[in-house]
Amino acid sequence: SQKIEQNSEALNIQEGKTATLTCNYTNYSPAYLQWYRQDPGRGPVFLLLIRENEKEKRKERLKVTFDTTLKQSLFHITASQPADSATYLCALDHRTGANNLFFGTGTRLTVIP
């Protein structure tokens, strides 16, 4: 079965720096990959989706890359702010019927002022 690893459980960075989170998976590549943000005690919120034939996707200060050869996605937050502190989840999106998402365990990002 598919295994998803997010680089570390927790990541601390200084405000203003770029945060880079990693999502690695085994086995077959998904057609899409999604990233979510989750704040403590809340449900995840969708951020970005990237297709297998897209190398990079941007949205404001967020950038996602998807390398099917390396079986890896990188999630970048540029000019990070304390308000970016949250847990970030990657999800493999295989589009096999209705149940399309397989989630990683997440990386807890803390941006230090």
Binding site: Y32, Q34, G41, R42, G43, P44, V45, F46, L49, L89, D93, R95, G97, A98, N99, N100, L101, F103, G104, T105, G106
Partner: protein, 114 residues
């Protein structure tokens, strides 16, 4: 905006009780999901539904059942609650057509079984 609501934010039940968790979405989404989330284990799918009265088992269906009598409502039932079902329960919905496969989550129900 899609809104997914869950019947309770916090719930405390005793071992052996029957527990109902309700989820309602207001965007006419076809697909609905129930997950549980535990530290270190991430989100695990319990059941999902792709249409009214249709349901499919997820990764950890044991000890749970579901009901979808109306498109907007998806209920999770714990037939006889046990302490190992203490967890955060999250409901989600998705349109599931075209490119619209992102999932919209409710705020979660933190269930404690004593």
């Amino acid at each position: 905006d899609v809104k997914v609501t869950q019947s309770s934010r916090y719930l405390v039940k005793r071992t052996g009780e029957k527990v109902f968790l309700e989820c309602v979405q207001d965007m006419d989404h076809e697909n609905m999901f129930w997950y549980r989330q535990d530290p270190g284990l991430g989100l695990r799918l319990i059941y999902f539904s792709y249409d009214v009265k249709m349901k499919e088992k997820g990764d950890i269906p044991e000890g749970y059942s579901v009901s979808r009598e109306k498109k907007e409502r998806f209920s999770l039932i714990l037939e006889s609650a046990s302490t190992n079902q203490t967890s955060m329960y999250l409901c989600a919905s998705s349109l599931g057509t075209g490119d619209s496969y992102e999932q919209y989550f409710g705020p979660g129900t933190r269930l404690t079984v004593t």
